[in-house]
């Protein structure tokens, strides 16, 4: 029997060790895997590469991940903490202890889809001529400068969804989906926490991440506690 359900966060994150690259879903507060971020915070893993739209939820729900200097590189579209203060993450970036790769958001999503979909590289007009294109190959298509962007993959993807079945099929509610599908495609081990693990299978035509992309699912109540970092 195929059964991708796990009972504990420890099992869900098994194998996530030093040097791992970790994609974390979440945008606007929706789809953030709070239980898994807290589980990551409780692990000893160091030299991490954190790949997420912003570091806001990682820093907010698992502050020790940055405070204990466990991250060596960040790939993000919004590598800025909220508010006027300089966060631990920003301090390490300013001190050169931590590398930041800024990626335009559409390119960020597309590089993960490419990584999971066997497309090693693609041309895009986004960012051409800007500081984020420095060092990138430029080619003109239809009179427009485009830059070559390469696929992005990772060891783990951590995602929150609404419902899952034992085959790893995932259904989102609202705007939880955001980067979840492309992260699941791009990661070697995809872990999804959901509000409800169904005992039956999900409806085949209303699945937002096909189970083929998912290795582990875990049921966890919403741990946001009403507060969003």
């Amino acid at each position: 029997m195929i059964d991708k359900r796990v009972a504990t966060v420890e099992e869900a994150l098994d194998g996530l060790g030093d040097g791992a690259s970790v994609m974390v879903n979440g945008f606007g507060g929706a789809g953030v895997p709070v239980a898994l971020i807290r589980g990551l915070e409780a692990l000893p893993a160091r030299d991490l590469t954190m790949i997420s739209n912003s570091m806001r939820f990682i820093d907010g729900y698992g502050p020790a991940i940055f405070a204990d200097r466990r991250v060596k590189k960040v790939i993000a579209t919004a590598a800025r903490s909220r508010g006027p203060d300089t966060s631990a993450f920003e301090r390490q970036w300013l001190d050169g202890e931590l590398q930041v790769e800024m990626v335009p958001q559409g390119t960020f999503a597309e590089r993960m889809r490419a990584g999971g979909g066997g497309i090693p590289a693609f041309f895009t007009p986004t960012g051409a001529g800007t500081d984020l294109a420095v060092g990138k190959e430029v080619r003109r298509f239809g009179g427009e400068d485009c830059i070559l962007e390469e696929a992005m993959v990772a060891d783990f993807a951590l995602i929150r969804g609404q419902r899952a079945d034992r085959w790893g099929n995932i259904a989102f509610t609202g705007t939880q989906g955001n980067f979840g599908l492309v992260m699941a495609m791009a990661a070697r081990t995809t872990v999804v926490e959901v509000a409800a693990l169904e005992t039956r299978h999900l409806a085949p035509d209303a699945i937002h991440i096909p189970g083929i992309y998912v290795e582990r699912v875990i049921e966890r109540a919403d741990e946001r506690d009403g507060r969003t970092p």
Binding site: A30, P84, G106, E110, T124, P125, N178
Partner: protein, 224 residues
Amino acid sequence: MTMPLSRDQIAWRAAQDLAEGMYVNLGLGMPVRVANFAPAGEEIMFHSENGIVGVGPVASEAAADPDLTDAGSQMITLVPGAALFESSQAFAMIRGGHLDVTILGGFEVAANGDLANWDARATHKGQLVGGAMDLVTGAKSVRVMMNHTTRDGGARLLQACTLPLTGLGMVDRVYTDLAVVDVTPDGFLVRELLDGLGPDELQDRSGAELAFAEEYGVLSAPAL
């Protein structure tokens, strides 16, 4: 001279250029307010780059769902006819030219249509580009909302941007608290000017040469 437009009044003015059936993305900050002033009775579909076509008003406290937010983390509602999808699809729409209009905030706009709006050089903070570079590349019409000058009175309409660019030659129209200015192949062309403000006064507050449309209009907005 009439008072410069408030942020809501600039948003109101930008909203007057939207029409039924348009697909429109509104940037974080000032631009999202445009939705509040969309022409009554006309159906305009607002896109949010986190995966929505059909963003509706901000949710009431009772209806608020933390799993239904816009790109600015506001808990929102959906209008009838809305669709939800994932990020790579949201940006395929943007990059693929399916949006009629994007309205973004700006730091600087150049006479050639260059826009700088993503890296304020707040040297103690990280960078934030988000979806801006995709939006200026993909939308059919790129419009910018910003105050005409910086807090210190420095110009934001410039011959060339000084801050890192978001996109090159993309901007079509700029809404400021003082004027509505188009970017044409020949540079800035003022379409509307605040009542009582002379063309020379606007030129003084700008860092590039302004042309004025033959019959430029009066920029005005209701009290909001």
